[in-house]
Symmetry: D2
Subunit: 139 residues, 4 copies
C-alpha cells in the first residue's frame, strides 16, 4: 500500500488518534471501503482470564469500521453505532480486524468487520464479528 495517497492519508489520521498510539495498533491496509488494523496482544490489553479484553476487541471493530466507511465516503467520519458479537475468547499473539463497506450512500456507509486472533505461526481464528453505521463529517 506504500505510495498510495489514500492509504497515506488514512495512516496520518490513524496516527493522530492518541488512543490508537496508546494501544499500539497499526493500520496495515486501507482504501475506499476497506481497512485492516492489527494489534499485538500484550498483557496490558487483557482481562482477568488472560484473553484480550472485550473493550480492546470492540476498539478494533469500532476503528476498522470507521476507516472502511470513512474512506468509502471520501473523508473524515465517525461511527454512529455498531454491534459486536464475541464468538471466541481472543488469545494468541496478535489481533486483526478487517472491515468492509457493504453499502455506501451520500452521507453514511454500513460496514461489517471480522476480528481474528493470530497464533505465533500466523493461523487466524475468528473471535468477533461486528456491523455498524459510519457517518461522514460535513466539510
Amino acid at each position: 500500500m506504500k505510495d498510495d495517497p489514500v492509504f497515506e492519508m488514512a495512516t496520518r489520521v490513524f496516527a493522530a488518534q492518541p488512543f490508537t498510539v496508546f494501544l499500539g495498533a497499526e493500520l496495515i491496509e486501507a482504501g475506499a471501503g476497506f481497512a485492516t488494523i492489527t494489534l499485538p496482544l500484550r498483557s496490558d490489553l487483557k482481562q482477568q482470564h488472560g484473553f484480550a479484553h472485550g473493550g480492546v476487541v470492540s476498539y478494533l471493530a469500532d476503528n476498522a469500521l470507521t476507516f472502511a466507511g470513512g474512506l468509502a465516503l471520501g473523508g473524515d467520519a465517525l461511527t454512529s453505532e455498531f454491534k459486536i458479537n464475541y464468538v471466541k475468547p481472543a488469545g494468541g499473539d496478535r489481533l486483526i480486524a478487517k472491515a468492509t463497506a457493504r453499502s455506501v450512500g451520500k452521507s453514511q456507509a454500513v460496514c461489517q468487520c471480522d476480528i481474528f486472533f493470530e497464533e505465533r505461526d500466523g493461523t487466524p481464528t475468528l473471535c468477533a464479528i461486528a456491523q455498524g453505521t459510519i457517518v461522514g463529517l460535513k466539510r
Copy 2:
C-alpha cells in the same frame, strides 16, 4: 458501598483486569444487576478531534454491562454481544457508565447501559447508550 461483600468481590475482579488498570477506570458502585464505572478522560484516551475515542466509550459499555449482568447472575460472566449508539461526542473531564440488568434468566442477563461525560462542575451529558447479553460462566 464499603463493607458490602458483593461490591468487594466485584472490585477484586475489576482490579484483576490489566486493561482496566491500564486505562485507569474505577468501579464506584456494583450489586446484583447494576454497576457504575468511571474513567478520567486523559489525553491518551482521545481520538483525533479531542474527544474520547469510541473504543474507550465502548470499553466502558462492555465492562459495565458485564459487571451488571454477572452480578445479577451471581458470578463470573462475559459479554456475549452488545450494541452501542454514540449520541454525542464525549468531551469533559470524566466518563461514567451506568449499567442495569433488564432481564435475568438462569444463564444469561440482558442489560442496558447509559454512558455520560461529566464537565468539571459535575454536570453529566449522555454520550452513548448500549444494550447487550451477558452469559454466566459455568462453574
Copy 3:
C-alpha cells in the same frame, strides 16, 4: 390523546401503513419522543410453539421506535437500524411496545423500546427490548 393534533397526525400515518392494518396494530399513545403500540395476539401472528413470532415482536419494536423518533424529529422518518433482544417467549393476549427517544439531534434520534405481553387480566411481562436510530426524511 383525543384532540391532540400530533397524535391525530401520527394516527393517520400509522393507518396509512398497509402492513400495520394487515397485522391489526393500534397506536394508542404518541407525542414528541414517545409512542405506544398494541397488537392483539391472534393465532396468525404466532410461531410453531404458540408464542408470538419474533418477526411480529420486531415489527412492533421497529414501528414504535420510528414513531417515537419521527415525532421527536417533527415529521416523517424511517428506522435506519435497530437491535432487539428477546428476553421471554411472548405469550398472552396482547403485545404492547413502548418507545421513547433518548437523544434527539437535528436529523436523527436514538430511541429505546420495551415490548411486553399482557395476560387477559392486564398483567404485563417484559418480552423484548430494542434500541435503534431513526432518521428524519428531508422535506
Copy 4:
C-alpha cells in the same frame, strides 16, 4: 434441495409457523448453517411510501437467521437477539433473505443475513444486513 432430509425437516418447521404462512414466505434453500427465504412483495406488506415495511424485512432477517443457526446447531432453535441495518428502501417484486452461520458453538450460533429485493427481471439489490445470535432449544 428435494429429497434432502434436512431441507425437508426445515420445510416442515417453516410451514408450521402460522405467521410465515400468513405472510406467504417460502424457504427455498436450507442446510447446516445456511437458509434462504423468499417473500413476494404484495401490497399488504408495505408501509406508507409503497416499500416493504421494515417489520417485514426484519421478519425475514429474524427467520433466516433462526433457520441458518438452528440447522447448524442440529435442531429447534430460537433467535436470542439480532441487529438489522436497512440500507435501501425495499421495493421490487420479491424479497430474498440469505443467512449463514459465521460461528457455531455447542449451544449457540452467530449468524449474518443479507436481504435483497428483486425486480421483475430478477436483478437483486441489497436492502438490509443483519447479524444475530441463535440459541438451540434443549431437548
